[in-house]
Symmetry: C2
Subunit: 146 residues, 2 copies
DNA sequence: ACGTTTACTGGAACCAGTCAAGAAAGCGAC
DNA sequence: GTCGCTTTCTTGACTGGTTCCAGTAAACGT
């Protein structure tokens, strides 16, 4: 898909601004970027953009479901434009890299807790933890502790 | 259950100290406490204990699997002594309160990603998000569950 | 009891993310 | 086109949760 960011923003009732377009375009081609990563990418395209603007765009777009935020424990948040389907994620314990995982099980059997303890559950989040290819093979990267 | 903390610590090759015992005992009776919460409880029993000591105990015990750390996005980490079984959690979006969820589905169908994208997956974490009983009823209750 | 090893104290630092005030830009009306 | 209201961006200080550091104190084997 990768629909026109302009359409998306308008559809969400948001103003069309350069930082917003740049953020959405960056995320479309670089899913699972961190805020800092997004900021870098946006600055490459636009010149100077404040970190705050990036956070603001990301938060605003998260609020209207144009982007989805993933917050893996122990790592900065990551963002993606693939919303709508509740796909899950694969996250590297070491470097925090994230990849999409479609849930195959038609009925999503894990989406219903056995007992909800009085909670009104509205979502189930699944994270598969492991080591990505880059992190498990070469221990020569300076961060070889783990 | 609730084995003697002394045994647990010795079994893990850790020294027996008052802060450690107090932390483990507190967690046994107050699962899903935050670090700050644990610190308060420990201080009630022991008098003065530094925040760092609490973090150190929690981290050390996490490392040897005497406690498990849960880090719900947007909320401080929570700790519990129920380790070994990979049960999941129910987390309140508003107050961060966490409850245990046993996974009923014998084969744990959600523990295998459809494609692992080159990752060596070692765990699947499931968080059910929602509102706890306290938070969804009264619209004025900001944050307090203890 | 002694010395070594490990843990605790207190303080400073860290990082991702947020808040606040003002300046600038978008966009609908004229 | 441009006026003016409103939203959004900039700058810069700030927070909360957690960790790092250096020094002191306590645990445990002998």
């Amino acid at each position: 898909m990768t629909p026109d960011p302009r359409e998306l923003l308008k559809g969400a009732g948001l103003r069309l601004t350069a930082p917003r377009l740049a953020v959405l375009e960056w995320l479309a081609s670089h899913p699972h970027s961190t805020a800092e990563h997004v900021a870098e990418g946006v600055r490459e395209r636009l010149g100077a953009v404040s970190t705050q603007a990036v956070y603001d765009v990301l938060n605003t777009c998260s609020r209207v479901a144009l982007v989805r935020r993933i917050e893996p424990a122990g790592h900065p948040a990551r963002y993606e434009t693939r919303t709508g389907d509740d796909h899950h994620h694969l996250v590297c314990r070491r470097c925090g890299r994230a990849e999409d995982v479609d849930h195959v099980h038609g009925a999503a059997p894990c989406l219903e807790p056995s007992n909800s303890a009085g909670f009104a559950v509205d979502a189930a989040e699944v994270i598969f933890w492991g080591l990505c290819g880059d992190c498990r093979l070469p221990p020569r990267n300076e961060e070889s502790s783990a």
